[in-house]
């Protein structure tokens, strides 16, 4: 008899393993006593609860769909979006708002969404310029200037 790996097996197991890892790095936090609770009391109680709930999710996994049935069709798109956003965050302060955001928008619209080159470029630069005007000039909310602005 083979056991089907189900969605909640993975989810419940993930929370148990995650809880155990966090507990392992919580060693230096004192639990204290009931009369004098330490900095580690609530975190350790909460980790215990998290692992217990994770265990219940795991034990009741039979009601959940097979893990193989979880639709991951949107993952490549999501991964591309998050990779470009991560690059933008890394460049945000060194390059500044205008350059980074123009590149991010262009990357998403032209690179990910395959929209026409000129439309993508004009939209990216135009919208970034408007956002810069709105936040930096009208709302006096300083944005990173970076190398050029």
């Amino acid at each position: 008899m083979t056991m089907t790996l189900r969605r909640d097996h993975v989810a419940g197991g993930g929370f148990i393993v995650g809880g155990a890892l966090i507990l392992a790095v919580s060693g230096d936090l004192p639990f204290g006593t009931l009369a004098s609770p330490g900095a580690g009391m609530l975190p350790k109680l909460v980790i215990g609860l998290m692992m217990a709930f994770g265990l219940i999710v795991l034990l009741r996994a039979g009601d959940s769909p097979p893990f193989a049935a979880v639709a991951w069709g949107d993952l490549p798109h999501g991964a591309r979006v998050i990779a470009l956003a991560a690059a933008a965050v890394a460049l945000y302060v060194p390059l500044g708002f205008v350059a980074t955001m123009s590149l991010l928008l262009f990357g998403l619209i032209y690179g990910v969404e395959r929209k026409p080159l000129l439309n993508s470029a004009l939209f990216s630069v135009g919208v970034t310029g408007l956002a810069y005007l709105l936040f930096n000039t009208l709302l006096k909310s300083p944005l990173p200037r970076g190398l050029w602005f």
């Binding site: 900095a39 998290m50 999710v57 979880v70 998050i82 991010l104 936040f135």
Partner: protein, 509 residues
């Protein structure tokens, strides 16, 4: 009552100031747009725009942000009726009969009924809020640390009980939120917790990066742009007014939805979503023509739309009177007040009467503005839907980054948002609702402080939570809710299943 009216007069003197009116108007417009646009909900909208309010005083800030919240409830109905896409989660039920009415050529009437129902319910909610919140705040002044522990535990258990996913999954998410809330310096002992030598984490994890990541970015990651194409039914403005029969059919569902929505709204949980489901189920149950539901029943639009607006107002009662957020949106609004140096809770009405009453009065004005805006400008809002999603979501990502960075000018916050976006995506895949996580994060500092203060003041005697009448009552209610959940788990029958059945039937039609 007289003092309430005097205070309300003070509130109107604040809310009717031209500058406050302007921010209420901006909030209503932005809220309607947030409601209209699929893929961006009120939570992401409020979180992204929170930094814009930093230059404003607390009254203008909360008036604008609250306008976004209840404005989104109005706007959510537009896409539901015209496109069969809920612009906002609470508008799911409106899709069923609203779109069916639109297909019959009654789109204008459905939009009008939704707007008028929203206005009546929103105004009803504000009137009850005006009457209920101040005495509740006076009562809450008797609360000490053990009562606050009881109240916060009750809030979490209520949230789990009312949640559309299972009790265990909700509590699991709340536990993750509480754990995230433990990051940073422990205020009682000075210990650094889970900061891994990143100095920015010393102050803890902010609500805004977490909320924007989970609800803004997370939503975008799980919404591929090619899936966002739909046919928009253009309403004929000449046919905006419902006929006499439709008004008659809408009257009682609006009244019932208003009362039901408010009652559900004051209970922690995704009240505005649950209230619309409950209202739809109630209207169908008591209808003389239940077979009409799913085919364009007026009550199927009027009831849920009124209920979700009333619920969004009801959710302000525990926030303003007790300092207890009932959901992620009120949690972010609470954070906004805290950022402006105004702690919500029992002291708010006495210490900041201008903010408290100005905010309440602005909701009367805001509801009127929304009614005036939504019908004549429906064509304009619909035209926003023509912006291709491929151009729209990069814009939202840009605003997410700006919004999070501007809170404390920290790139670490933006990285947290990005990580939370990935977490939000995974949580959706594994059928976890991220809302309790945000709630856990918000209440974590108060919960921990109250818990430890209670234990210290009792010398380590945990029975302090059951020996004081108010705390004991709150924990007794927690016990009853847990027992009810255990019962429904054993019998495998609870209200969630019934709601799912109602939704399923509607979807099939």
């Amino acid at each position: 009552m007289e003092s309430t009216l005097d205070s309300l007069a003070l509130g109107f003197s604040v809310a009717l100031r031209p500058d406050v009116l302007l921010y209420a108007f901006i909030g209503c417009i932005v809220g309607t747009l947030v409601g209209v646009l699929p893929g961006i909900g009120p939570l992401a909208g409020i979180s992204i725009l929170l930094p814009i309010t930093f230059g404003l005083d607390a009254t203008k800030a909360i008036v604008m942000l609250a306008g976004i919240y209840y404005g989104s409830q109005y706007g959510g109905s537009t896409t539901s009726i015209l496109m069969r896409i809920p612009g906002e989660a609470s508008s799911v039920m409106t899709c069923i009969d609203g779109y069916a009415m639109a297909q019959k050529g009654r789109a204008g009437a459905a939009l009008c009924i939704a707007a008028v129902g929203s206005f009546i319910a929103g105004t009803f909610g504000v009137i009850v809020l005006t009457v209920v919140a101040p005495p509740l705040a006076s009562f809450a002044l008797r609360f000490g640390p053990p009562e606050y522990v009881g109240l916060l535990v009750l809030g979490l258990i209520f949230l789990a009980y009312m949640s559309s996913t299972s009790l265990v999954r909700t509590l699991l998410m709340a536990a993750v939120g509480l754990l995230l809330g433990c990051i940073g310096i422990d205020v009682m002992s000075g210990h650094f917790r889970y900061s891994f030598d990143i100095k920015e984490l010393g102050d803890g994890i902010g609500i805004v990066p977490v909320a924007v990541g989970l609800f803004g970015l997370g939503e975008i990651l799980s919404t591929p742009s090619k899936s966002m194409t739909a046919k928009v039914i253009r309403p004929r403005l000449a046919e905006l007014l419902p006929n006499r029969t439709e008004w008659r059919q809408a009257a009682m569902p609006i009244a019932r939805g208003s009362v039901l929505g408010f009652l559900v709204g004051i209970v922690p949980g995704s009240a505005h979503i649950i209230s619309s489901f409950l209202s739809y189920a109630l209207e169908k149950r008591i209808s003389r023509t239940p077979e009409e539901f799913g085919k364009g029943a007026v009550a199927g639009v009027a009831g849920p739309e009124s209920a979700n607006n009333s619920a969004s107002t009801g959710a302000f009662v525990p926030m303003l009177a007790l300092g207890l957020p009932t959901g992620p949106v009120t949690a972010v609004l609470m954070a906004a007040l805290l950022i402006h140096g105004v702690p919500p809770g029992p002291q708010l009405v006495n210490e900041h009467p201008q903010v408290f009453w100005g905010f309440i009065a602005s909701m009367y004005v805001g509801n009127l503005m929304l009614l005036a805006l939504n019908l004549p400008l429906v064509g304009l809002f619909v035209s926003v839907l023509r912006i291709p999603y491929a151009y729209l979501y990069p814009l939202i990502i840009m605003f997410c980054i700006i919004g999070v960075y501007e809170v404390s000018h920290s790139v670490v916050d933006v990285w947290i948002m990005l990580i939370m976006g990935g977490v939000g995506y995974l949580l959706r895949k594994f059928d976890f609702d991220p809302a309790p996580l945000v709630l856990g994060l918000v209440i974590a500092p108060t919960f921990e402080l109250s818990l430890r203060q209670s234990l210290v003041m009792s010398g380590g005697d945990w029975t302090i939570f059951f020996s004081r009448p108010i705390a004991a009552t709150l924990f007794a209610i927690c016990g009853v809710l847990l027992a009810l959940s255990a019962l429904s788990f054993l019998t495998r029958k609870d209200w969630r299943g019934k709601l799912a059945e109602v939704e399923e039937v509607g979807e099939k039609r």
